[in-house]
Symmetry: C2
Amino acid sequence: MSIRNSFLALLASQPAHGYGLKSFFEESTGGAWPLNAGQVYTTLSRLERDGLVEAEGDSDDRRSWHVTEKGRHALADWYDAPVEDRSTRDELVIKVLVAVATGESNMARVLQTQRSATMQRLQEYTRQKMEADPRAELPWVLMLDALILRAEAEVRWLELCEQRLELQGTGGDRC
Amino acid sequence: MSIRNSFLALLASQPAHGYGLKSFFEESTGGAWPLNAGQVYTTLSRLERDGLVEAEGDSDDRRSWHVTEKGRHALADWYDAPVEDRSTRDELVIKVLVAVATGESNMARVLQTQRSATMQRLQEYTRQKMEADPRAELPWVLMLDALILRAEAEVRWLELCEQRLELQGTGGDRC
DNA sequence: CGACACATGTAACACGTTACATGATTTG
DNA sequence: CAAATCATGTAACGTGTTACATGTGTCG
């Protein structure tokens, strides 16, 4: 629902045409979620189908979209309700749990591979955060904050898994 | 790909029929990801279509599935490659960033609503973790670890957002 | 002129999800 | 006997994603 509702949010603040929504969405996410141009229009079609947005000019060239009253309600609902916990569907968690459940022989390697990758990402995010200007690139900085905190949590979880499974990490990739 | 690959993982450790896969998957995830029965068979059809699994008995009653050589490769690929970072698509992150980008007036409320909800979850997870037996319910305990670490990271991020946006949290829902 | 941003759209697909229909077997 | 569990499947749908086709305007 992220793209859908994001479009709703922009259109509630001001009408826009498809391409504008694309730019807005990508800027909002600090460029971390690039959209395929086509996706903009499939998403708009679905919003229109559900009566949440309407097109202003029927012209072929630049259709201007605006939110309906129903759309405003849907947006308010989005903002009002806290996002549900989707961690139970997280691919990494599932992968590790399934590996445990099947008695996967390379358990230790799976955990270490992931930990290395996540720590490398962590370094890269941290580097980028130092280079970023919080005033000029607020979305990107907020995104980096999220990315970093998530990655840290992931590393901690992987270490916890190693402990609980009584696996000895090599420690070689710790820094 | 989680369900798909989880099925592959079980079938690589031993052949099974559809219902068995369902039970296995739900036990592996500590019951945190319940499957609709139908989903098992749609997933198996897709795996079969892609040549990753095959059905043993053509009987109507209890078809036994096993993994193919190609399926074993696919599984190895899954285990070998670290899971990509999907945090950039996280609904909460997007929601907050979009709210910031549109100058949403109720920014503070959105953040606080979410923080309250997440902290409540956190409490509930912590309570359940205390009640759980790590030896008898390892999957569920590992899942709870993940849930807790994620929730903690989420709370920290929300607080960081408040700071960066120079919003004063009420602090009333801190405990 | 050529590259790039602007601008719109269709068709097809991926995975996950639900509702629904059906029946056998086990257990209280 | 009734309820729960075991067991299989289909049809339809949701969001997100890609590949593809098409064309205008602008700037170096």
